[in-house]
């Protein structure tokens, strides 16, 4: 009988380590001039360098170095004055040169720490061992059999991804979190994702593999009361590869803790090994064990010169580091007066940046939120595009709201104006003018419309006089209908009440 996560936590203390790979969004690849783009036809974004053709040589992408250093600074890392690349040697068809250019004993960024904010506001500091640069491998597709390399009829290799710049961020062991370990791990990966987005160095899309996590977990017995938990040695760890969503990070840790606790409780050893994550079943299965592990024969890459960033440049990059995402969210929530729930929805919808820009363009925060989370979210979901890809700018939304606030248009007209903006008819002001969407507040016209409506419903005035003021709503509705929504509803109501002598 397998133990649950909660059962595991009763007897064991979990220790977790996370490696996150971030694909950088540089225009070109790490060591050649090929375009760094996603989704091209296989083997169209390749050249002699990233195909590893005989004679070809790598040249380091300085923009990638800049991105890596900025990420390192955001993670509180020290930046090494001189760091060499290294070759990691292993044979695999998707690795064009049969070695990966990475960093080994001299990572450019090292010894950092990042605050992670949990859902209840608790702040946990996660220590960062290193953040180093490397190149991605190509992609194998195994045809036939089970889809794995074993038993496949044949395999296809696409080298478009080969040589795409990566930064690998490695934490120090995360200890002492007990049953919150899974939550911390998830929040940590979310923080990295938010950071790379805020830095503008990667879109961090986990579902497209732009950000990938490997999760290490081990259990050790809980220390007896009064004993020092940190004095208890670590247990054997498993490394679960390619855990590619925030939810999966949490699930993988929960599953592994249960699995390992079950083994340990039965007196069986945990094998040090890599494991594969299965999203469908929520389980892990064994991969390569430590005994079969490869000797990568690392040595300094002789084709490249060391990365030696000018300290003044590093300091200049430091000034470009954005505010910590979780802290920025807390500050904005305060400033904007959003509830916790509203803020969480905004973040989940990826609307934080859009709302920030809209507010910066002059709109009240709540109004900005209503537009992006309401009408625009609806349109985006209808069109099946990310919110940010809609053909409307934050400045246009701010202008739209300005027209509403000035009383030039009402909410209904504003939605029509927005429809025009989304249809490419120009700024809200242009659409309002072109479509003639101004609110009608000319009293003569409104009085005529009110009188016509009252004539059709003669009992309304009587009801109002009897104190049923809400009966006026029927007349307002009729007037709005008659004027195609362009009437100023407030003024209409005033006229009706005046007619009733109230």
């Amino acid at each position: 009988m397998s133990q649950t996560y909660e059962q595991a936590m009763e007897n064991f203390d979990p220790v977790c380590g996370i490696e996150v790979h971030v694909e950088l969004n540089t225009a070109t690849k790490m060591f050649c001039g090929c375009a760094n783009v996603f989704g091209s036809e296989p083997n169209t974004q390749v050249c002699p360098v990233c195909l590893g053709l005989p004679g070809s040589m790598p040249v380091t992408n300085q923009k990638a170095v800049e991105s890596a250093i900025r990420l390192g600074l955001a993670l509180g890392c020290s930046i090494r004055e001189s760091s060499r690349f290294a070759r990691k040697n292993y044979f695999y068809p998707d690795l064009a040169k049969d070695y990966q250019i990475s960093q080994y004993d001299e990572p450019t960024c090292y010894d950092g720490a990042v605050d992670v904010v949990l859902d209840d506001g608790t702040v946990v500091s996660v220590a960062i061992e290193r953040a180093h640069m490397e190149e991605d491998a190509g992609k194998n597709t195994h045809v036939g059999g089970s889809g794995g390399i074993q038993g496949a009829e044949y395999s296809l290799v696409d080298y478009n991804r080969g040589g795409v710049p990566l930064v690998e961020i490695v934490t120090r062991p995360i200890e002492g979190m007990g049953e919150r370990t899974a939550e911390v791990a998830r929040a940590y990966v979310a923080t990295i994702r938010d950071m790379v987005r805020a830095l503008g160095i990667s879109d961090g899309r986990m579902e497209q593999g732009r950000l990938r996590a490997d999760v290490n977990l081990s259990l050790r017995p809980k220390a007896a009361p009064g004993e020092d938990q940190s004095a208890v040695p670590f247990g054997k760890r498993s490394e679960t590869k390619n855990v590619n969503s925030l939810r999966a990070v949490e699930r993988a840790i929960r599953f592994e803790a249960g699995r390992q606790a079950t083994l340990l409780s039965a007196g069986k050893p945990v094998t040090q090994e890599t494991r594969h994550w299965h999203e469908d079943t929520g389980e892990t299965t064994p991969g390569r064990s430590k005994e079969q592990a490869e000797d990568y024969r690392y040595f300094p890459e002789p084709d490249l010169v060391p990365v030696q960033p000018d300290p003044a440049w590093v300091e200049q990059l430091r000034t470009t580091i954005p505010e910590h995402p979780a802290k920025m969210r807390a500050r904005l929530r305060e400033e904007w007066g959003f509830s916790e729930l509203e803020m969480r929805d905004v973040v989940a919808a990826d609307a934080l940046g859009l709302i920030t820009e809209t507010v910066a363009a002059g709109a009240p925060a709540q109004a900005a939120r209503k537009w992006w989370m309401g009408e625009l979210a609806r349109v985006a979901s209808e069109r099946e595009v990310p919110l940010g890809d809609l053909p409307v700018t934050a400045a246009q939304i701010a202008q739209l709201q300005e027209l509403v606030d000035a009383g030039d248009i009402n909410d209904k007209l504003a939605r029509q104006a927005l429809e025009g903006v989304l249809a490419g008819e120009g700024d809200p002001r242009d659409v309002v003018a072109a479509r003639g969407l101004q609110v009608v507040s000319d009293d003569a016209a409104l009085e005529a419309a009110v009188d016509a409506a009252l004539a059709a419903q003669p009992d309304v005035l009587e009801k109002i006089r009897e104190g049923k003021v809400q009966a006026a709503g029927a007349i307002v509705g009729a007037v709005m209908k008659a004027t195609q929504g362009q009437a100023d509803a407030g003024r209409v109501r005033e006229i009706i009440l005046a007619r009733a002598g109230a």
Partner: protein, 513 residues
């Protein structure tokens, strides 16, 4: 004595500088000159010809003639052309050439036609030099005799039973057999200089980073350097200036202009070396050096003294460990550089049931014994638990050797030694004794470990066997020009003694009709 350019035998024996001048003066066309060399290749190079030099793995007659005709047409139209435009050249098969087969002497690359040009290839094309073909070499430049070529050895034109040196035996033999006036070589531990020594030609390993390595199939990236080969110091300098200079495609390329080596060669040829300090490296002479080699070396020193240079002795004690360090660093880097020959994207494929077995079977079939030997050595040297003892220690030796050079260059402007301990040995003599083969490079290896430039030029023929002896000159990094100044002065002094360039004394090769 003026050259009759209509006489092909005379034309191919001219220097590249003479060819360039005659082309510029309209005394000969590039087409005629190129054809004369192609005819010479046809007469002496094929394994079925009487001489059977086998300097070429691939001859591109059509391409060379097309370039030659285009140059002739441009010249007739008055277009300004580079100095060596129309002078033919051959390129070591380790350098990739778009559209021309490139094998690095290995069966694993048989039939591979690169889709791109090396930077030096592009520069040769930009210099409008007809490319005659690709020259033979030890497989992946591993060897000192070309006997490790996957396509059979090259024969020394001085004595076809002997080795032409290696790995660039093809590039050197092509010069000595008058099949090409200029060739490109690569030097990882002496592969330009030792073949130059045993064929009585000139070869230069430039300062590391002085010539782009982009497109040179890597043996050991931290040691490899492409360089020019010719029959005279001036010719070699002319080619050096075509090849050299910064290349953004090679991260280890020096970001500075090519040294003024042609000017230095011209200055040296005047014969005045007053004030130049020549350092004789004590550890690179004496025991193990053939008598005739030592004799010609001493005579060369006398010639340099006569030109006004002072000669001092210097000591480089760490050189004792150079060979050992070299044979750890080179195999380590080579084991990684050669991993890409895995059958997946190019070259030979021996199909088996799984990809691992296919990779293994291909490498077993495609690589020769010497390559396998070094891959095994290098893989071992880099293994966990051995790295510090082997690769790590070798890197420390490398630092010590650099310090030895620094100290020596404090008291001498250039250092000199015999290029190789002996005159060329017989084909087959050392093929089963790798250690004896490795010892051939004892004098050339330190320059690669330190990244400094070196030249070999003819010092004469050893009295006991009548075979060529090479004289090596080494200079500090970035001071390549010193090699040319001293080399040209020595060349001028010896030519005066010999009554002309030494190569002209080479025995006539029997020619296929």
């Amino acid at each position: 004595m003026s050259i009759n350019w209509n006489d092909a035998a005379q034309a191919v024996r001219a220097t590249a500088a003479q060819m360039a001048d005659a082309l510029a003066a309209g005394e000969v066309t590039s087409e005629a000159l190129t054809r004369a060399h192609l005819d010479r290749i046809a007469a002496v190079d094929g394994v079925d010809t009487p001489a059977g030099i086998h300097a070429f793995l691939h001859v591109d007659a059509e391409g060379a003639l097309a370039t030659a005709r285009a140059v002739d047409a441009d010249r007739a139209a008055g277009v300004e052309l580079p100095r060596l435009a129309g002078v033919p050249i051959a390129i070591k098969d380790v350098v990739v050439t778009e559209g021309l087969p490139t094998t690095a002497g290995s069966r694993i690359l048989e039939g591979w036609v690169p889709p791109y040009d090396a930077t030096v290839t592009a520069r040769v094309r930009a210099a409008r030099m007809p490319i005659l073909g690709k020259t033979n070499m030890d497989e992946f430049a591993m060897g000192s005799s070309t006997e490790h070529s996957g396509y059979g050895p090259t024969h020394n034109p001085w004595d076809t039973t002997r080795i032409p040196g290696g790995s660039g035996g093809g590039s050197a033999a092509a010069l000595a057999a008058f099949e090409a006036p200029l060739t490109i070589g690569s030097d990882t531990g002496g592969s330009i200089r030792q073949p130059a020594a045993v064929t009585a030609t000139v070869g230069v390993k430039p300062t590391y980073g002085g010539v782009s390595r982009f497109g040179a199939i890597a043996l050991a990236s931290s040691l490899d350097q492409l360089g020019p080969c010719g029959r005279t110091v001036l010719d070699t300098a002319l080619l050096h200036e075509v090849m050299g200079g910064h290349d953004p495609m090679d991260a280890t390329s020096l970001d500075e202009p090519v040294p003024a080596v042609v000017e230095a060669a011209l200055e040296g040829a005047s014969g005045n070396l007053a004030g130049v300090r020549i350092g004789v490296v004590r550890e690179l002479s004496g025991d193990g050096y053939q008598d005739g080699v030592r004799q010609r070396f001493e005579e060369s020193l006398d010639a340099l003294r006569a030109a006004g240079a002072s000669v001092v002795e210097v000591s480089c004690p760490s050189f004792a460990y150079a060979l050992a360090a070299y044979y750890l660093i080179l195999p380590a880097e080579a084991s990684s550089n050669l991993a890409k020959f895995d059958s997946v994207r190019f070259g030979m494929r021996v199909e088996r049931e799984t990809v691992e077995k296919t990779m293994g079977a291909t490498r077993a079939a495609g690589f020769g014994d010497e390559v396998k030997r070094r891959i095994i050595l290098g893989t071992y040297a880099l293994s966990a638990g051995y790295y510090d003892a082997y690769y790590g220690s070798a890197q420390k030796v490398r630092t010590l050797i650099q310090r030895d050079f620094d100290a020596a260059f404090a008291s001498a402007d250039v250092l000199v030694s015999p290029t190789a301990p002996t005159t060329p040995f017989r084909l087959g003599e050392r093929i089963d004794d790798p250690l004896a083969m490795y010892l051939n490079d004892v004098a050339t290896i330190p320059a690669n470990l330190a990244g400094i430039p070196g030249m070999s030029l003819p010092a004469g023929l050893a009295p006991e066997d009548g075979l060529p002896v090479g004289f090596q000159i080494l200079a500090p990094a970035r001071e390549d020009a010193r090699l040319y100044r001293v080399g040209a002065a020595l060349e001028a002094a010896l030519a005066a003694q010999w009554g002309g360039p030494l190569t002209v004394q080479a025995p006539e090769l029997e020619v296929a009709q």
